[in-house]
Structures are given as structure tokens and as C-alpha cells.
Amino acid sequence: MNQNQIYWDLGDRVVIRSYTLDDAQALFDLIDANRDHLRPWMIWEHTTKSVDDTRTFIQSCLDEPVSIEGNGIWVDGELAGGIGLDIDTLSNSGEIGYWLAKRHEGRGIITRACERFFDVAFDELGLHRMELQAAAGNLRSRAVAARLGMYEEGVARDGIRVTDGYLDSVEYAILEDEWRERRVQT
């Protein structure tokens, strides 16, 4: 296992682990079953046309030397969504991105997964700042950012491209000392 591959048990039967090529079919099937749910926000929905596309994506994550991209979220042993941490070594910061199948929404799974990623980012990887971009209309994603204690820093107009056009991107971030302070409080 490369050092940027992960296998984390979050409790309550939720596991995050890096994709392997063996996950390509399950990943494609889950995206295919959630197209209407994903299309408004995820540019990769319409570029994911076959299992070959998910296999190519997983391989690109396996080839990634630093970032912790390409991880599945498993609930009760079934794939439920995905999460990835893109690391920018030049600014010593990270950006989290995620998605969840519709039927798993509303249980705090993404928030818990992000919390683990932020702990690792600040404690183990020594990053200075974590970022999250959410489309202005993606209220569920923005609620995650708020629950994580992230600050809204601005709005990049038309900063996100999706299948049907461009969406304003709300820029959220939390700094290392803010995360530690929040953790003491909670």
C-alpha cells in the first residue's frame, strides 16, 4: 500500500478506504444509479459513461504521488459515496471533495468523514489550511462546511463547471489553529 492510500474505520459500520481497480464496477454502478442526484453539482457525472471511465479514474488516483484522492465510503460493506483530499504542496494546503448516494444522505456520514480527513491533514500531514468549494446552490454541501466550522471567504463567480453550465463557487476554509480550537470545544 502506498503511503497515501488509506483504510479508516469510522465506527457505526462506516469505512473509508482507497479504491482499488476491483472497485471500478461498484463505483460505476453507484454513479449510474445516482445520475439525476449528481448531475447538478458534479462535472464528472457526464464524463462517467462506462466502467472503463471509473477504472481510468481509479488508476489516476493510484498513480497520484501526494494527494489522497479516490477513496470510497462504505456503509455496511456497500459503497455509499466518495471522498478525496487534493494536496497543494506549494501552499501547504488541502482541498476536500465528496459525494454521497441519495439514500445515504442525512446521517452525518460526510461530516464524520471530513472530520477524519481534517485530523489527518493537520496532525499527520502538517497542512496549514483546508479548503472546500461548494456550488452556491448546493445547500447540503454548504451545511457540511458550516458544521465543520469552516469560514466562508468569498464567492468565485462561475468558478465551477458542471454539465449544464457554470455555477458560483463558495470558497470555504479552516486554518490549523481554528481546527484545533474547535476540537477542544467539541
Binding site: 501552499s91 463547471r161 476554509a173
Partner: protein, 191 residues
């Protein structure tokens, strides 16, 4: 890699900026001039740019130039020349997945105040919108980097927020960055 191959990747990126100034991609033979100019501006540049710490010798700049030449689409790795003298650099880094270009630039102290960066950035933005299908241009500038912020205003970019501690600069310090943006529809109204 031969010294002439850089020009083959983007043969038409050779933009006259007026007053004898030209914007063109670096070639490996420019490594000496590039390192020399960064080194003589090191203290000024380190306030705003992390990459100054990576400019340790001529070889580091040759490696940088060759890495840019390998990258076909991005409009980055360009120098501004006034006559035979390198005056600075101006780039538009393209993030294709969002049809977005991000400006970056720097200038030798002796060439500050002539409008070179504004003209070079305007040329790259026009290229980005018209030839590369970009939808948005953005620029992140240190909150205290007033010259950069003045360029953003002259380019017609709008202030969209402040990214706290998002810029790592020389010496391992972090600075807040103002994010500026422009969408192509706004740009069309200005040209």
C-alpha cells in the same frame, strides 16, 4: 530537449506589447537570464512568492522551463522582454476542468511602472478567452501587494473574497490572498 522545441509547442505565442516589449515562452537557453533576474530581485519577490526559494541555481530554472514546455495547453512559462533584456514573467495557468485561467506575474524592479504587466496579462486573457475557450480568469494577490492589486483593477477583475493564509511565501510564511475574478461576459464588454 533541444533549445528550439519550446517555440514549436506554441508557435504563435509571441505578442508585441509596444515600446519594444515582447511576451514569449521561455526557452531552455533563457535559464541564465531567468535565474539572474530572480536572484537580483530575490528579497522583493520572496515577500509574495514561494517559488523564489526554489530558484537555487541556473539548473533549477532550466528544469522549470523544460517542465513548462512539456505542458501543451497552459499559457504559462512566459517571459517579458524589453529589447534583449528579460524584464519579468507573466502566466495564465489553465485549469481545464473548470474552463478557468489563473494569472501570475512578476517584474524586475527597474521595469516597474510602465504598464508591461497589464498589457501582457490583457494579451494572455484575450488568448485564453478567444482561443482556449476559457470562461473565467482569476488572480490571487497578497492583501498587502498593492501593485498586484492595482493591476487586477486595471484588468477589470472584481474582488471576490479574501483567502486567509492561502499564500505560502518565502521563508515559510503565510499571507492572506485577495481573490479577483472575471467571467468572459464581463471581459467582452471591455474590449
Amino acid at each position: 530537449m533541444a533549445g528550439t522545441e519550446g517555440a514549436d509547442v506554441r508557435p504563435d505565442l509571441h505578442i508585441e506589447l509596444g515600446g519594444g516589449a515582447v511576451l514569449r515562452p521561455y526557452e531552455p537557453t533563457d535559464a541564465d537570464a531567468l535565474y539572474g533576474l530572480i536572484d537580483s530581485n530575490r528579497v522583493r519577490l520572496a515577500r509574495w512568492f514561494h517559488w523564489v526559494d526554489d530558484a537555487t541555481d541556473v539548473a533549477s530554472q532550466r528544469a522549470y522551463i523544460e517542465s513548462r514546455i512539456d505542458d501543451g495547453r497552459s499559457l504559462d512559462g512566459n517571459g517579458i522582454w524589453v529589447g534583449d533584456d528579460l524584464a519579468g514573467g507573466c502566466d495564465l495557468m489553465i485549469k481545464g476542468s473548470d474552463d478557468m485561467g489563473e494569472l501570475g506575474f512578476w517584474l524586475d524592479e527597474a521595469f516597474v511602472g510602465r504598464g508591461l504587466i497589464t498589457r501582457a496579462a490583457q494579451a494572455l486573457m484575450a488568448r485564453g478567452y478567444e482561443s482556449e475557450g476559457l470562461h473565467r480568469t482569476q488572480l490571487r494577490a497578497g492583501v498587502d501587494n498593492l501593485r498586484s492589486r492595482a493591476v487586477a483593477k486595471r484588468l477589470g477583475l472584481r474582488e471576490e473574497g479574501v483567502l486567509r493564509g492561502a499564500g505560502k511565501v518565502g521563508g515559510g510564511l503565510y499571507v492572506d490572498l485577495v481573490i479577483y475574478g472575471q467571467v468572459v461576459d464581463d471581459w467582452r464588454k471591455t474590449v
